[in-house]
Symmetry: C2
């Protein structure tokens, strides 16, 4: 039986449209908030719902795998010998909906307005995860109960709380998870209608830097001028991390950084981008900052950064208190680009902190997490097929972008399973992930099912 | 009738010792905590007690003066025409006693242990204020009901909460308060047995500096590298305020600073001081910091400083949050030395902040208070007499020191009444003001009464 083409797939989606929506709504109505213990049963219900959906789609070996916290859901269909295997990943857990009063309609009562589904989890990631399941269902329905390639599903319930269980599971189940490529739909289109493949992600080293000055808070009248100040010491240290242009001053920090390929830069230059609008509407400040002579795309996608996420120490209440603070703490991270080794960077930072801590101030660096940046070769067969299919589906050339943030599971797949990930998401930049009134454009939900089914079909040829 | 000499005064103190202690204990037992509304009546009781004590000491025109919050107590004795007038200042209010569990005996139940009175207010300032009243009582008793000079008393009940009422009262009652010199006993001896006159105090400008980066907190993965960071902007700004040696970099900041007189430096060099012990026991750090080539005395008494008392902004909770903070706040003060004008310094700081705020970061400076530094001429007749009397009383040469902190009322007396202040205190550096187990050495209470009576006597000659 020949593979179903895009138009056949679209026909199937159209004739099942209401059911595809009703099912997604049922999943969204389960408040599977992974961070709140009182929703533990809801998270389990969402896992069961997902497992049932996989069974109904014809997947085999469906298993709800218990973990230390929330279960993983595994399933596969492996009856296409000689064909590639795709590992589909998604998550069925969601962020808390607070602040509730800002929602126009209740977060777990999905509502259609202006062509969008409004609900917590609509786009992140229930709506996008569910597209994968419905895509294989569509293909099986159109191909007489078979699939043009092998698929495995691994869906987690802890993505919004750090993904501890899946990051233990993956290295312990390499054979079971063996695949040629992973497929993740947890990203956005660059803009509505522009087929977008994310082929690079920044890594992240997250640290706490603590400074200790005097043994206890001192009276600044009595000791000011002679005693070290923990807050000022930390301020002095941190300020040395970058020059006035934002260039990081830590020795060796940029050594492994590679310039993006000319084709990538060219692709970025083709993207619609209005710097004045970006500054006013998104950043909301008086100036775009950072390394001179580099575009916003390069700065946020292809350059490593150092940010202070928070700082605290001494007296910050109302009024005046004249204390020389004993302690101060900063939360600091560096975003890493591909080829920068997190361990070497951590070592360079620790050395730099030791070398630059002001007199009388003891400092300590505590690393809370470290993951590398990633870059997928756009010439990889799966990426090439995805780009082609995406372009065919949306009717314009696929753009290759990078993401400035981290998706840790993509790193796990690369390191543990040795496979690249196709990051094919159908969200939009203004979908409001983690915010009140999260939305997912309904048309993109349907288009996502068709496009992914078409991708699996073509990749299996 | 000739003035009573030191030995006669000491005899009077000795024969009245128990009563002098009992009376002070009665005053201490009143929990006159000015900051706590539930103790408002106690504060009023302490004012009444003080007024009664003044009456019993033979003072006239005793008045409890209502204010917006806690009353002032005024009294005078003005029957020595042609003789100088001394304005005695003190305060009858105290700090809260918390944490209560650290007190060995209840804070408002004065107890003698190891020759010390342990109680809240023992030294700050009930014990020291009461010395003034008992000194005039002694002199009147010894001089047949007269005094060798004119005295006025002004005692407040808001010193521990900022002294708002007295700072309104003084400029509005200049004639009533006219005097040649003020006498304040709210300071300490440099060390036990060393007669110490404080002749200089630093002023204080207290500010909040607020920084605004993006309009709201941004995701550092999406915007890191291109968006301004309020915390880092504030860090960058503050770090520029001093060089690595602690020398303040604000243009014009040191212009009006005068070097201490050679005699003052010589006096400081004669003080017992162990830098290693100071570092270990008082500062509790690895290094004494601040301007190179200057002694700790010069740094803390005669040099202006800039301190960051606290800083806050962004995320400082447990774990990781990758936010680019929109706002950050620092509490900053400068300590001023005599001859530096607070208004000019504020203007210089504001200009410097405007000139040095990083790109994309808006800053605002809010001044919460500003007072100048003060220096009393040690050759002033009252100071000269005080030094002589103090030396005679304690049996060794009087040292002239300065205080690194501020005593705002001393500034009011200088600015509003045009008079210097004799800062003659009998506390000890380890008395634990504002702390649990505050104490006052009993012998110093009696010695204070004698010394102050002797000072009034000799200054009246």
């Amino acid at each position: 039986m020949p593979n179903a083409g895009l138009s056949a797939i679209r026909g199937w989606v159209e004739s099942n449209a209401q059911r595809l929506l009703d099912e997604l709504f049922s999943l969204i109505r389960i408040p599977s908030i992974s961070t709140l213990p009182e929703h533990k049963d809801d998270v389990a219900r969402a896992a069961a719902f997902t497992a049932d959906a996989l069974r109904n789609a014809g997947m085999e070996n469906v298993e709800i795998i218990p973990t230390d916290r929330h279960p993983l859901v595994y399933a596969d269909w492996l009856h296409a010998p000689g064909k590639p295997t795709v590992l589909c990943y998604g998550h069925y857990d969601v962020q808390p909906p607070d602040p509730l009063e800002l929602w126009e309609t209740p977060p777990f009562e999905p509502t259609i307005r202006n062509g969008n589904i409004y609900a917590r989890g609509a786009v992140d990631d229930k709506g996008q995860m569910y597209m994968h399941i419905k895509a294989v269902e569509a293909l099986r329905a159109l191909n007489g109960g078979t699939l043009p390639l092998n698929v495995k599903f691994l869906i987690e319930g802890e993505e919004e709380i750090g993904g501890a269980s899946i990051s233990k599971f993956v290295p312990a189940n390499k054979e079971r998870l063996r695949a040629d490529v992973a497929l993740v739909s947890d990203t956005s289109l660059y803009a509505d209608g522009i087929p977008t493949l994310c082929i690079g992600l920044r890594g992240l080293v997250y640290m706490e830097i603590e400074a200790q000055g005097p043994a206890r808070d001192l009276h600044s009248g009595l000791y000011g001028g002679a005693a070290p100040n923990a807050v000022f010491g930390l301020v002095e240290l941190l300020a040395k991390a970058k020059d006035a242009d934002g260039v990081i001053q830590i020795p060796g920090f940029y050594d492994a950084v590679q310039a993006p390929a000319a084709a990538e830069i060219e692709s970025w230059n083709s993207l619609p981008f209005n710097e004045a609008e970006y500054l006013a509407a998104e950043v909301g400040s008086t100036a775009i900052t950072g390394e001179p002579g580099r575009s916003v795309f390069e700065k946020t996608w292809a350059r490593p950064t150092l940010e202070v996420h928070g700082i605290g120490g001494g007296f910050t209440g109302a009024g005046s208190k004249t204390v020389i603070p004993a302690k101060a703490l900063a939360k600091v991270s560096v975003r890493l680009v591909p080829n920068q080794d997190p361990e070497s960077i951590v070592a360079a930072i620790k050395q730099w902190v030791a070398d630059n801590s002001p007199k009388g101030v003891q400092t300590e660096v505590r690393v809370l997490g470290a993951s590398p940046g990633l870059l997928v070769n756009p010439d990889h067969p799966a990426i090439a097929v995805a780009a082609e299919v995406f372009a065919e589906s949306l009717g314009r050339k696929t753009v290759f972008v990078r993401g400035g943030g981290s998706i840790p599971i993509v790193g796990e797949f690369a390191q543990q399973l040795g496979i690249p990930t196709v990051l094919m998401g159908f969200g939009l930049p203004d979908d409001g992930l983690h915010s009140p009134n999260e939305k997912y454009k309904l048309a993109n939900y349907y288009q996502g099912i068709s496009t992914i089914a078409h991708f699996l079909s073509r990749y299996g040829e």
